[in-house]
């Protein structure tokens, strides 16, 4: 009898433990808020994770692009100014919410845009951005492989040739295969690739300084300044870096929810993301200007010679695939959170492949995108800067840092965050205003700008305009209609 009861007690405890584990796993995937006791990261753990995300091959590309507009001295200043402002505002808009409530970023976004509006924002800010980055990184992989084969055979590289396209298509398909296998393989690659990229940066910096002294480098001119007005070129370089800083908007909120405290959710972004990204960009900038080419797949072979060049290119090629796997995985996990039942019904492998179709098309039909990739990056800032402005206005000034966790996770159809058919027209209008202000002040496609751009950039007015419109219209119209539980 006693044995029977004991056995039953063990079985019940086992079931309870299994259920608690299932709930915790679901919370980690974003289905529920993570409790303070379930959070994983302290200050340094989050700093390390952030650095791993920021130290990626795109930092070389962004640094090289800055070198097109300004020389190294102005470029370093632009990198620091653009990144600190962009990262600070983005972190402020996303991480204190996640750090306080352990809440998934796009679930929190229901309080700003409504439960359907947050889906729209997800598609605009995450899907489009990730598809573009997948194509650019795949082409960087393809160029590395093309450079490698050319270097081995002693021939000239053809960065837009068929070899590059085949390798880039192969990179996307292999990334799809890796991510389809699950997250364990991605974590394994991260552990190796991030520290190795730091070593690669240091080696590259050492090799650059072997060619030219630091003071010589600082005195060098820009590679291809678009305007005679140096101030305008400098502000464009700042704008590219603001865009780089704001481009973390879709990702850092969901990392910050794994931190133990609100303060721990915020400050490591300044050390990890700002510090690491700035370092990588500065290496890319110095190398590009010293060697006369902004493309890292070209300057690496020039600077390092055939043997180290082959190793560096091989490494960069596979580091790109790790970056691709990270952003693809994050985007699809998010897509399943915001997606409809029919999207969630599509198998993991199939939805991943469908997501890769557009990047595959870009690689095959529009490889020129790689050379103008900074244009694509700056376009994303028109959206991300406005999103940051709305996030700060909503959470800090309208809600006074208070969210209703229960309502955000409850069925939404009749909840307080349904706004108007699931969309908050005020938030979406503010987003459109922010986007419009950006494009009016500075057109990323043509680089045409209003005089105000030289004093304020485009991201800062866009952020301010979106935040102000959201604040004023919410005060005027939302509370009276009972929308969104505003105090």
């Amino acid at each position: 009898m006693t044995d029977h009861v004991t056995h039953g007690g063990f079985a019940a405890a086992e079931t309870e433990r299994a259920e608690a584990e299932r709930n915790r796993a679901a919370a980690e995937r974003g289905d529920a808020p993570l409790l303070p006791s379930e959070r994983l990261w302290g200050f340094w753990e989050f700093t390390y994770a952030n650095s791993a995300l920021a130290i990626a091959t795109w930092a070389f590309l962004i640094g090289g692009s800055v070198g097109l507009f300004v020389g190294p001295k102005e470029g370093i200043a632009a990198i620091i100014i653009g990144n600190i402002v962009g990262v600070m505002l983005t972190a402020l808009a996303t991480t204190p919410i996640s750090g306080r409530y352990g809440i998934e970023q796009f679930i929190a976004l229901r309080s700003q845009f409504g439960y359907n509006g947050s889906r729209v924002v997800y598609v605009l800010a995450v899907v489009v951005l990730t598809m573009g980055w997948l194509a650019v990184l795949a082409m960087m992989f393809g160029r590395s492989i093309d450079g490698l084969t050319a270097l081995s055979a002693g021939e000239a590289a053809n960065p837009t040739g068929i070899k590059m396209i085949i390798a880039a298509v192969g990179a996307i398909l292999v990334t799809w295969f890796i991510v389809a296998k699950g997250p364990t393989s991605i974590k394994f690659f991260n552990m190796i690739v991030s520290p190795a990229l730091v070593i690669l940066m240091i080696v590259m910096l050492y090799l650059i300084l072997q060619h030219r002294s630091f003071s010589e480098l600082l005195a060098m001119p820009a590679l291809a300044p678009p305007f005679e007005d140096n101030t305008l070129n400098f502000i464009i370089a700042v704008e590219v870096n603001l865009a780089a800083g704001f481009s973390w908007w879709p990702y850092i909120g969901n990392l910050a929810r794994l931190t133990k405290k609100e303060r721990t959710a915020f400050w490591p972004n300044i050390v990890g993301i700002f510090g690491a990204a700035a370092l990588g960009e500065i290496v890319g900038l110095l190398a590009a200007v010293a060697l006369g080419d902004s493309d890292p797949t070209i300057w690496m072979t020039k600077i390092a010679g055939p043997v180290i060049g082959i190793i560096a290119l091989l490494f960069v090629a596979f580091a790109n695939m790790t970056s691709m796997a990270n952003i693809l995985y994050t985007s699809i996990v998010g897509l399943r959170q915001v997606g409809t039942a029919s999207i969630r019904a599509i198998s993991w492998g199939a939805i991943l492949f469908l997501f890769c179709v557009i990047p595959l098309g870009l690689v095959v039909f529009y490889p020129q995108m790689y050379d103008g990739f900074f244009i694509f990056l700056v376009w994303t800032s028109a959206l991300n800067s406005a999103l940051a402005g709305i996030g700060i206005a909503d959470y800090f000034f309208l809600r006074r840092q208070k969210l209703d966790v229960r309502s955000l996770h409850a069925p939404q159809e009749n909840g307080p965050y349904r706004f108007w058919g699931g969309f908050n027209p005020i938030g979406l209008f503010a987003l459109a205003v922010g986007f419009g202000v950006y494009v009016l002040v500075f057109n990323p496609q043509t680089l045409a700008s209003l005089p105000i751009f030289k004093y304020l950039t485009a991201s800062v007015p866009s952020c301010l305009a979106a935040g102000t419109v959201h604040y004023v219209l919410t005060r005027l119209f939302a509370r009276g209609r009972g929308w969104g539980l505003y105090p």
């Binding site: 259920e19 709930n23 679901a26 919370a27 529920a32 808020p33 409790l35 303070p36 001295k73 102005e74 470029g75 370093i76 200043a77 632009a78 620091i80 100014i81 600190i84 402002v85 600070m88 402020l92 204190p96 750090g99 306080r100 409530y101 352990g102 101030t231 400098f234 133990k260 405290k261 609100e262 303060r263 721990t264 915020f266 400050w267 300044i270 208070k402 966790v405 229960r406 996770h409 409850a410």
Partner: protein, 55 residues
């Protein structure tokens, strides 16, 4: 159906924990005015210093 009810109960339990923390002002490591002043000062310092140095 049972699973759904169990999950809604779990969500309610988690929400209640946060409501209790909030009601008791027991959020650990809450950002204060010092943090906000610090981030404003750091941003301003870097922008001004690098603008003077590089622009």
């Amino acid at each position: 159906m049972d699973n759904d009810i169990a999950w809604q109960n779990e969500l309610a339990r988690r929400a209640r924990i946060y409501e209790d923390i909030e009601a008791g002002h027991r959020f650990e490591g809450k950002m204060t005015a010092i943090d906000y002043a610090g981030m404003a000062a750091l941003t301003l310092l870097l922008v001004v210093a690098f603008w003077i140095w590089g622009a």
